[in-house]
């Protein structure tokens, strides 16, 4: 499995993502700068990491979503290549239209940085097949703008098409997100955006390994 991590100015989880990928897949991912115009041809997975790309200017993910590299990310996603957006990466995916909806300011206006319980709602995807539907995993969040918003029609579609991959466990929604949404899949199910950080819980020394399943799922599917 060949993976690439896109690095934007002020990405700050790119190396965590790279280490998690290397530990799970045994291969170092390519680090691709946002100003490059193309990703390598034979890439199976593209990761848009967490951080504060372009200082969150205008809106979170707005500038990064229009950067050179995103044209190729979009083209590759449309061809079916797997794309994983974590935290700021999820915001970039909604800004480019690869995922529906938008991520708004947390309802309580506070930056939240803590572990949350997530329920795996969908195990039928390249990202989640190693989990079982209904599994509860503990994965940290660290964001000020993770309040998922979409109109009712879109929310009903996401529900109806089983595209909600992760939901915050009842009572643990840290940001006011609609339908307790923590992560969603694209229509073709090859793009996943999620606010929590699975790459931060892949090594027991860092407090947990609940995130490993996601990278193992990708390895299993894409190898």
């Amino acid at each position: 499995m060949k993976s690439a991590v896109v690095v934007f100015p002020a990405s700050n989880c790119d190396r965590d993502a790279a280490i998690a990928l290397e530990q799970t897949t045994g291969k170092k991912p390519l680090m691709v700068w946002h100003g490059d115009s193309e990703l390598p041809d034979h890439v199976d997975l593209i990761v848009l990491p967490g951080g504060f790309a372009y200082g969150d200017y205008l809106r979170c993910g707005a500038m990064a979503g229009r950067s050179h590299i995103m044209r190729d990310v979009k083209a590759k996603a449309e061809k079916g290549i797997a794309v994983l957006g974590i935290c700021n990466g999820f915001q970039v995916l909604t800004e480019t239209g690869l995922l529906p909806g938008a991520l708004m300011r947390n309802a309580n206006l506070k930056f939240v940085c803590r572990f949350v319980g997530l329920r795996v709602e969908e195990s039928q995807s390249a990202f989640t097949r190693r989990y079982r539907k209904g599994d509860v995993v503990n994965i940290p969040v660290a964001h000020g703008e993770g309040n998922y918003f979409a109109d009712d029609e879109t929310l009903n579609r996401l529900e109806g098409e089983n595209r909600i991959a992760f939901r915050y466990v009842e009572g643990e929604n840290p940001n006011g997100s609609a339908h307790n949404i923590a992560g969603i899949l694209s229509e073709k199910r090859n793009v996943l955006g999620m606010m929590p950080h699975p790459e931060r819980v892949c090594d027991a020394a860092l407090g947990g390994t609940d995130g490993r399943g996601l990278f193992q799922s990708l390895l299993e599917t894409l190898s």
Binding site: L58, R59, A62, R66, T94, E95, P100, G101, A102, M104, R105, N106, A107, N108, L109, N147, F149, A150, G176
Partner: protein, 80 residues
Amino acid sequence: MKARIFVTLKNGVLDPQGKAIGHALLNLGFASVGEVRQGKVIDIELSESDETKARTDLENMCEKLLANTVIESYEIELTK
């Protein structure tokens, strides 16, 4: 030509920042304050002198970057 663009949250989209501002105003004693919504103002200088063309350009700018039309609406004001 100069343009001023107002970007605001659409009706029906919750605005927690607006709410917090409203609370703060009430706390300051402005008892008449009702709902508060906040947004952005963006000023742009344009070299285009044709008003229709300028307006089309500005609409494209709003659709492509300045507003996220999933949650925001925009208004364009042109001055010479």
